[in-house]
């Protein structure tokens, strides 16, 4: 993928861009932007899920130290309390992405080949839209 952006520049630089190609780039960029947003939210959820299970693990293995147990329980409560917010944000964004994708597929990418073209262009643009 390191050279994906270069290939993309070469492709776009070769002659006049067709209207179809312009639309493809626009659609792929929109999806890549949404995917980037979704990826950031996914990493938040993964991190939260890890924090919760590691805290649970510590709690399981904590010796009979009441103060330490209380501290871990409080931390777990705080972590778990943040699940609804991140879940709602995830659902709203997921619905938006699903609808956008369905709309684009139906309107301009009806065949499997069309959709693969959109996938690969999106992936290529993702590197620039969403730097690591």
């Amino acid at each position: 993928m390191r050279y994906g952006w270069l290939i993309f520049l070469m492709l776009t630089a070769c002659g006049k861009t067709s209207p179809d190609h312009t639309l493809l780039l626009r659609d792929a960029r929109l999806l890549a932007t949404l995917q980037c947003e979704a990826r950031a939210l996914l990493e938040t959820r993964i991190s939260l899920a890890n924090d919760i299970r590691f805290a649970e693990d510590s709690l399981l293995r904590t010796p009979a130290d009441a103060a330490e147990k209380d501290r871990l329980k409080a931390r777990l409560d705080t972590l778990r309390a943040s699940i609804p917010d991140v879940s709602v944000r995830t659902r709203i964004l997921a619905d938006s992405i699903s609808q956008t994708l369905a709309r684009l597929h139906e309107a301009r990418y009806p065949t499997a080949a069309d959709r693969l073209r959109l996938d690969s262009t999106q992936l290529m643009l993702y590197q620039s839209v969403c730097p690591e």
Partner: protein, 448 residues
């Protein structure tokens, strides 16, 4: 030469028929003549409801999807020449349990399916359904009812809805005796005494008892699945560093420690989303929905596809859960922490039930056999892009074969550190057997 009166005998008949109302030959629309889009929307909603309704863990979700798929198919059988009923083919379902269609009534099969799916969804989630969830079900039912209602006369429309609801009610009644009814109220089937023996499962997180320990007592749709889809014994538990078991655990350890970026991505992709998963069954149903959409499948094809997958997934979880509690095997994380490295951390969370065999491997393999039968000429070759997880921030994943997809799903559990490799390989074998049974032991329509 015939007498004249014989020749004239046709005259009154000609006169009578020519004076009556115009005779039109009506071909009643069959399920194959209807669009399958409404079914895709219902199964997409099912995924959302599983995510948002408390108590729907993988076994409970597979059961809900299971009865929903059976209901959809069975609701269409009377309008589908050559479509065998599942009554008499599924364990415990006899023809007298199903409502009889009025053979004089020209049903609208889109309305029948919509009403059946709406009601079985309500039955599967029952009082556990949130107010918002309930409204969503009502809205989807109304959307499809309104779009189809006025294409037929009111009596026909009402009869169609009534018949769909009657089938849903009958399948719900059938579900009451399978052992899983309202299992969402007590998904861990408490009280339960955790067995303690060398190599036994121990808690890996906050759940101190494992999920659904008596799930294997549930009635499968196909008895043959419970009889034949059983795994071989796993390597004998041992802490000896020269033993096969130790080496398998060490393999998990090294795989996690050395996981590539790609392997981590695969582990996360198939683990689905923390806090947002509609379980492995839901993921496989989402793939089916995508495949049906790509094929622009009609109502009949959609009904066969969803019913096959529904039966396979329900039975996959019963059979897999039987293995899990027959063997009650310790998870890799517990073994590794005890005998290899106390600081070991898995890449993804270990779910609260025993290791052998892998639920993901079993259900994905069962699904892959259904996909293979539905969408290929039997070799499983099918260039396929799984786009079901884009909305959660994952990239698409590409496959050339459904078997390859199932194997990646199984391997993802090794990459994540939550299954031994033999959990996966033997889970795949069980799942393939289950999928093959569903394809071959049930009499399905020849055309759709």
């Amino acid at each position: 030469m015939k007498p004249v009166y014989i020749r004239l005998i046709w005259l009154p008949l000609i006169l009578v028929t020519s004076c009556g109302p115009e005779t039109v030959t009506v071909t009643r629309p069959r399920p194959v003549n209807y669009d399958g889009e409404l079914t895709r929307e219902w199964f997409t909603l099912m995924c959302t409801l599983v995510k948002e309704t408390p108590g729907f863990y993988p076994p409970q979700a597979a059961r809900a999807f299971g009865y929903t798929g059976v209901t959809l198919y069975e609701s269409l059988v009377p309008g589908w020449p050559g479509a065998p009923t599942l009554a008499g083919q599924l364990e415990g379902l006899s023809p007298d349990m199903l409502p009889q269609a009025d053979t004089t009534q020209p049903y609208h099969w889109g309305l029948v399916a919509n009403a059946a799916l709406a009601d079985i969804t309500r039955y599967m989630f029952e009082e556990q359904l949130s107010e918002e969830g309930s409204l969503t079900v009502n809205d989807l039912e109304a959307k499809w009812a309104e779009s189809q209602w006025f294409t037929v006369d009111a009596e026909q429309a009402q009869a169609s809805v009534d018949f769909g609801k009657a089938v849903a009610r009958a399948i719900y009644q059938y579900s009451l005796t399978d052992g899983g009814h309202k299992s969402y109220q007590n998904p861990f089937q408490l009280p339960y005494t955790v067995p303690a023996h060398a190599g036994a499962w121990v808690p890996t997180g906050s759940a101190l008892t494992p999920l659904a320990p008596r799930w294997a007592e549930n009635r499968p749709f196909l008895a043959a699945n419970a009889t034949y889809a059983v795994p071989p014994d796993h390597p004998a538990f041992s802490t000896d560093t020269a033993s096969v078991f130790y080496k398998e655990a060490l393999r998990v350890y090294h795989t996690v420690k050395q996981a590539s970026i790609e392997q981590k991505e695969i582990a996360w992709f198939w683990a689905d989303d923390p806090f947002n998963t509609c379980t492995p069954t839901g993921h496989t149903f989402n793939i089916m929905t995508q495949l049906l959409e790509e094929h622009d499948a009609n109502l009949a094809m959609s009904a066969v596809a969803y019913a096959k997958l529904a039966i396979a997934e329900n039975d996959a979880f019963i059979c897999c859960w039987k293995a899990k509690y027959d063997y009650f095997l310790i998870r890799p994380v517990s073994y590794i922490k005890a005998y290899i490295d106390p600081s070991f951390k898995t890449l993804i969370g270990t779910p609260p039930f025993p290791a052998y065999t892998s639920g993901h491997a079993t259900e994905a393999a069962a699904g892959s056999r259904i996909f293979t039968a539905m969408f290929t000429d039997g070799d499983g070759y099918y260039p396929f892009t799984d786009r079901t997880q884009i909305r959660f921030g994952f990239s698409v994943r590409n496959y050339t074969n459904f078997n390859q997809m199932a194997e990646e799903c199984a391997n993802s559990r090794l990459y994540g550190g939550i299954h031994y490799d033999f959990d996966n390989t033997n889970g795949l074998k069980m799942g393939r057997a289950i999928g093959d049974n569903v394809n071959s032991l049930i009499d399905w329509p020849a055309t759709y």
